[in-house]
């Protein structure tokens, strides 16, 4: 940025601060000011124009230093922008593109893009048809996502939302997707943890962290997700698929509420301003599956996070976000305390577009699995009568126990979906009598799959040759010896379900 004097002599417009209320400043003058334009105060601090009346301009401060009445302010003639470029990969930056880590101050990008723009029109969009893997078996099988989908991640504090986000970023970065993590008003230690995770897993070069801490001015925190989306749009236009994680929009809404209340906007429900829906909708609408000018198709997949309080997912911001996204993954506190990892509740979670991206095999598998889990849910109450329960009930409960064990996944552990399908089929044909044996074998299979080309080819061949779960089960029965041999696991008597 240039100096105040430079902008004053270039634009030849000046205003004087008339009133100042925390992060909102009112000035006169600046006759040709436009909305969202950056302004600079005589002490070098920046602000952005929020609204204008005939004789007053309302400015949102982007700094925490004090502004006094009578101070001079000048227009810059530019909207809020963020430098964009591949130079940012692996860096942690603020919404203005400035690196937060001192040791990573290498070259900065030459191109800039406006932070807050209107979403692309319908003519640039295409139906979501490619599936999006998260590396979390439960999500990939029961709540499948598509590239370009906006899926809300919702749950109470400490229910494993962040672990899920880590796993998804890890999986997608490994697949070559550019992952942008927007930390909105996060603790500095949390940002350091994310940086360390990206570094330790070796996905740094495919990721960007754009973060603001709770100590930053409200105006800067408010800009964080918009800046992240601008970065995502740049990489999309450069021909990459992008994943944007917004952690979290509940905090964003709270900071926006703070700004608007100081700005004397009329408070609505829960004291949020009337345009809170628009604020989030215009942000999330920038994600999707797009067709570029050269005819190629690239997606911005968005995972906004929202925190629920005491399991209440019917809050104002939560329901707003649910209605503007293409589904939600719900992290259940009860399941978490029972030890289920990930604590995703498949009955409350929804994916509105993910299923259309699924192969017939995955669709039939998902349907079968969900109907079984629904049956188990109904029969769960009979588990108290263990001795008196019928053999059918006992069998269902035993299989369900194995299925939940199969879904269990450690934090930061990413699963290969193709292999998971094979494992599930083995489980479904009752290959394992005991859960403990199953867990041991699954660990072996995961290990073998990672290192053996033969195992990977066999898995792919089995999956690609069929169109439904029943066909795959038949194929697995036929090739069971070969599968067990390739994966190096013991043969057990195969039963029937």
């Amino acid at each position: 940025m240039k100096t105040f004097d430079y902008y004053l002599t270039t634009n030849e417009e000046i205003g004087f601060v008339q009133a100042c209320n925390q992060s909102i400043v009112y000035t006169n003058g600046l006759p040709k000011a436009t909305l969202q334009e950056l302004v600079v105060f005589e002490n070098g601090e920046m602000g952005v124009i929020l609204s204008m009346s005939r004789d007053q301009v309302e400015i949102l401060l982007l700094s925490k230093s004090s502004i006094k009445a009578g101070m001079k302010v000048s227009r810059t003639g530019v909207k809020q922008e963020i430098p964009v470029g591949f130079e940012l990969l692996g860096k942690t930056i603020n919404p203005f593109g400035q690196p937060l880590s001192v040791e990573k101050t290498a070259e900065s990008p030459k191109i800039s893009r406006p932070i807050d723009i209107s979403p692309s029109g319908i003519n640039t969009r295409k139906r979501i048809e490619q599936s999006f893997e998260t590396g979390v078996t439960m999500v990939d099988m029961l709540v499948p996502l598509g590239k370009g989908q906006r899926e809300l991640v919702i749950g109470d504090r400490k229910t494993g939302k962040t672990s899920f986000l880590y796993q998804t970023i890890l999986k997608q970065a490994t697949l070559g997707t550019i992952c942008i993590y927007a930390g909105i008003g996060k603790k500095k230690t949390d940002i350091k943890k994310i940086e360390a995770f990206f570094h330790n897993t070796g996905i740094e070069n495919n990721t960007i962290i754009i973060a603001t801490s709770s100590e930053d001015p409200a105006g800067v925190i408010y800009l964080t997700p918009y800046a992240a989306m601008t970065l995502a749009e740049y990489f999309r236009d450069e021909g990459h698929d992008v994943l944007v994680v917004m952690d979290d929009l509940f905090t964003h809404a709270k900071f926006y509420r703070e700004i608007m209340l100081i700005g004397r906007r009329f408070p609505g429900r829960n004291a949020y301003p009337a345009d809170i829906f628009y604020t989030h909708a215009r942000l999330l609408e920038r994600a999707g599956n797009f067709v570029l000018a050269n005819g190629t198709e690239h997606a911005i997949t968005c995972l906004p996070v929202v925190e629920s309080v005491e399991g209440d997912i019917a809050g104002f911001i939560q329901t707003n976000l649910m209605s503007m996204t293409d589904g939600h993954i719900y992290f259940d506190m009860d399941m978490f305390t029972k030890g289920t990892r990930p604590a995703i509740n498949p009955f409350v979670s929804v994916s509105r577009v993910g299923r259309q991206t699924q192969s017939p095999l995955r669709l039939s598998l998902s349907r079968e699995l969900l109907s079984f889990l629904t049956l188990h849910r109904r029969l769960e109450s009979y588990s108290h009568f263990s001795a008196e329960a019928g053999s059918g009930v006992k069998r269902t409960l035993a299989v369900a126990e194995k299925i939940y064990a199969f879904f269990t996944q450690g934090a930061n552990e990413v699963k290969m979906l193709d292999l998971q399908i094979i494992i599930f089929c083995l489980l479904w044909i009752d290959h394992w009598q005991y859960t403990s044996t199953m867990e041991k074998d699954i660990a072996t299979m995961n290990q073998v799959y990672k290192n053996s080309m033969e195992a990977q080819t066999l898995t792919k061949d089995l999956i690609n040759s069929v169109n439904s779960l029943n066909e795959l089960l038949l194929s697995i029965r036929k090739n069971l010896d070969k599968i067990l041999n390739v994966f190096g696991i013991q043969e057990v008597k195969v039963g029937n379900i």
């Binding site: 002599t9 030849e12 417009e13 000046i14 006759p31």
Partner: protein, 167 residues
Amino acid sequence: MNNPALSDQIIAKIRTTSEVSQVLSCLEKFVETFLSSPSESDKEQLFKELPQEIAAILSASFAHQDSTPENYILVKREIDELVDRLRKCESIQLTIAFKPDDPTLTLFSDWVKKNVKADTLLDLSYNAEIVGGAILIAGGVFKDYSIRKNLANRFQIQRDEIVKLLS
């Protein structure tokens, strides 16, 4: 007693925003002491601090009024109108490199009143660093007609030429 010509007369004679502040403070004092200062000379004394012409107009309008409650109401109403009009006057901020004498200040003010608007005032400030010329601020528009700016532009052009020659 309602006299719209009075505010016009006063505004025509007031040149700067600092004079407006002086007039406002005198009028405030006058209203406060109206009932307690019985003589005309006491009342005239209050306007003595103001420029001569303005003081004469104000004295002629208000000093001869008897200190009765009825007159107080009428005088207060008229002064309130005058104050309101003075507060609404627009101003042009003018920064110059020297402190102008009285005739020069009148010359500046007359030019502004004639060419901009009759009730436009000057908000004068002095800054020797601008060397000469003037910096104008009006309605949020900033114009730097100072010699400092001209010199800076010339130096910049010369610097650019030297850089061009060297490269």
